[in-house]
């Protein structure tokens, strides 16, 4: 057994506890340990990615209990890809947080580590109930991070977020119970083996359970009709936390990609193709709702939040086609949209700090400090999010459109993706011109006042170096988008093989249940 597989879960768990005990008073130690842990995780995820792309899926049986009875962690290409993405995002956004956001409340770094632990665990686990537990870990950490720093609006949005997710957890348990009651297993690979043999009378129960799970994952992925929590949560969360949350919606998408091709794919007999009739229309509505929201957003935080909903719609539409090409395109778009959304949230946070009392609200206000720099960054992030050339969003959308060519609903998909891209462009143009252009026209009078205020606040010199960190992090995220564009060829070839592995569930099942056979 490859013991490295469990480390992405163990390392942040241990470090989070250490941070709580040792470094609760000392921010410097906490920062150093936290960055070291995230960097180590990224290296680890990279090496696991190399292992996963060279070999068949690898299984780690916790406590050495054989597969259908014990809990297993499974490393395959898809899991390794998500690990790398999550740990890269965690490291880069953590750098931005060190710029000052982690000072606003207590235990930021410990919560951050637990959040990363939950995300890594959710990507690695091969067991439903364990998936539920990791969801709870990442959620409970996210509750803490969400209200980090406090404030009236943030706490209200936080309570709403917690209630939403507690209801989601209840539904998750009900779904797990239904599936266990019918099939007698909680192991994903074992479930895949048992689904074709379920008695005809029990099949309706099994389908109810599976579709309830789809609803729960849709809630995490912010899909219509359970998307409404996202704009409020993301707009009110601290910018760095919202940037990390960019991976949280993808946890829902990952769970859909993991479960449905595996257990309800072509080999599932009467249960095959269970999710597609529900997922495709819901994803279409999600895209439409998200991009319409971009048009009507009242603040830049909402704008970014609705653009995340829109990108989840695009992504899930490709997933819902349930073909290899479409999945490969979806994974490319997943990489892109996670990084782009994180960059956008960090930028919105920085711009809001530089607009005085106006914050991130979309109204005429004193000009943004360092407007040319932030204008250019916002422009690049907007290009990425809207999916315009030359950045990777364009390639992602192109791949998705190309893979939808054969589908029955191709005209709907093409029309929606192209139409909503226009909506997104209009929405972002409106926001950008309002924030960066409209204000400067009538700003000269107020501008003098601002300069005077800035001159008074000279001790801000130290703060200026700290404020450079979020800028570095945002630039790193945008640079990774450029890299994703430049290396689109090799990346999408790798993703093709990943998609092929997802659609060859026998490999996964053999890897998991073969462990049992080997031990007996």
């Amino acid at each position: 057994m490859n013991h490295w597989i469990v480390l992405p879960v163990l390392l942040p768990a241990l470090l989070g506890s250490v941070l709580l005990m040792v470094a609760r008073r000392d921010l410097v130690i906490a920062r150093a340990l936290s960055v070291a842990s995230c960097a180590a995780l990224l290296v680890l995820a990279g090496s696991l990615l190399a292992t996963a792309s060279a070999e068949a899926p690898q299984v780690y049986a916790l406590g050495d209990w054989p597969a259908p009875y014990g809990i297993v962690l499974v490393l395959d290409r898809l899991a390794a890809l998500m690990l790398v993405l999550a740990d890269l995002l965690a490291l880069v956004v953590l750098l931005a947080a060190i710029g000052g956001a982690d000072r606003e409340g207590r235990h930021f770094h410990a919560l951050w580590q637990f959040q990363v632990m939950g995300i890594n665990g959710a990507f690695l686990t091969g067991d439903f109930f364990n998936l539920f537990v990791f969801f709870e870990i990442l959620l409970i950490a996210s509750y803490g991070l969400m209200v980090h720093g406090g404030g009236r609006e943030r706490l209200k949005a936080g309570v709403q977020y917690v209630v939403m997710n507690l209801v989601g957890s209840t539904l998750f348990l009900l779904a797990v119970g239904l599936i266990y009651g019918v099939t007698g297993t909680l192991n994903m690979a074992d479930l895949a083996a048992r689904v074709p043999e379920v008695a005809a009378g029990d099949r309706a129960l099994l389908h109810t359970g599976a579709l309830l799970l789809l609803l729960v994952f849709a809630l995490k992925a912010a899909m219509v009709p359970v998307h409404f929590w996202l704009p409020g949560t993301y707009a009110h969360a601290p910018a760095v936390v919202a940037a990390l949350f960019a991976i949280m919606t993808k946890v829902g998408a990952y769970a859909i990609i993991r479960l449905f091709p595996l257990a309800f794919g072509d080999d599932a007999g009467a249960s095959s193709g269970l999710a597609a009739p529900w997922l495709l229309p819901a994803a279409m509505l999600t895209l439409l709702a998200g991009m319409t929201g971009v048009l009507g957003a009242q603040s830049m935080g909402q704008l970014a939040g609705f653009s995340v909903i829109g990108s989840m719609g695009t992504l899930l539409m490709a997933v819902a086609l349930f073909t290899e090409e479409a999945l490969s395109a979806a994974l490319y778009y997943l990489l892109h949209s996670t990084l782009a959304a994180a960059a956008l949230f960090l930028l919105v946070g920085m711009i809001a700090q530089r607009r005085g009392s106006a914050g991130d609200r979309l109204r005429v206000a004193p000009p943004v400090e360092q407007a040319p720099l932030f204008g250019a960054l916002f422009f690049s992030a907007a290009i990425a999010v809207c999916g315009m050339p030359p950045l990777s969003g364009f390639i992602g959308k192109l791949l998705i459109l190309d893979s939808a060519r054969e589908s029955v609903s191709s005209s709907w998909i093409w029309g929606l993706i192209l139409g909503t891209s226009l909506l997104a462009i209009i929405g972002f143009t409106r926001a950008g011109s309002l924030v960066f252009w409209t204000s400067s026209a009538q700003a000269s009078a107020r501008g003098k006042g601002m300069e005077a205020a800035a001159a008074e606040g000279e001790p801000a010199a130290a703060a200026a170096t700290a404020a450079a960190l979020p800028l570095v992090a945002t630039s790193a995220l945008l640079a990774s988008l450029v890299a994703l564009t430049v290396f689109a060829g090799p990346v999408s070839e790798w993703l093709d093989e990943t998609a092929a592995q997802v659609y060859a569930p026998a490999q996964y099942v053999d890897a998991v249940l073969g462990v049992a056979a080997g031990n007996e």
Partner: protein, 118 residues
């Protein structure tokens, strides 16, 4: 017994959902608690209901109950208890900061809620 357990789950769920939709923090917390009770009983029943049957396999025993749902329920109880505690703390904090215990965002929602009350 099946009827008793099934109706208990049903009544608890219905009451939980009703309270949840009140959208004020105290009823919502109670509603979530009832929902989690319903879920726990339900999870327990997924291993089939067996009275006086130990969760151990023994050659002298013809009947035994499924131990796995019991383990699941234990985990679920711990998690939902912790989550409820967290929610109560956050709700109290939110109430003390904003002076309003409405779960929904925004003013219009709380205005309609006030009209609902006699």
């Amino acid at each position: 017994m099946e009827f008793l357990v099934a109706s208990a789950v049903g009544v608890l769920t219905a009451a939980g959902v009703y309270l949840l939709l009140r959208a004020h923090t105290f009823p919502v917390v109670l509603g979530l608690t009832l929902l989690s009770y319903a879920t726990n009983i339900y999870l327990f029943a997924t291993g089939r209901l067996a009275v006086n049957a130990p969760p151990l396999i023994d050659e002298h025993l013809a009947r035994y109950s499924d131990p796995l749902p019991q383990a699941l329920v234990l985990t679920a109880i711990v998690i939902s208890f912790g989550m409820t505690a967290l929610l109560v703390v956050m709700a109290l904090r939110s109430w003390s900061v904003s002076g309003d215990d409405h779960v929904d965002d925004g003013e219009p929602a709380s205005a309609t809620a006030r009209e609902d009350r006699p």
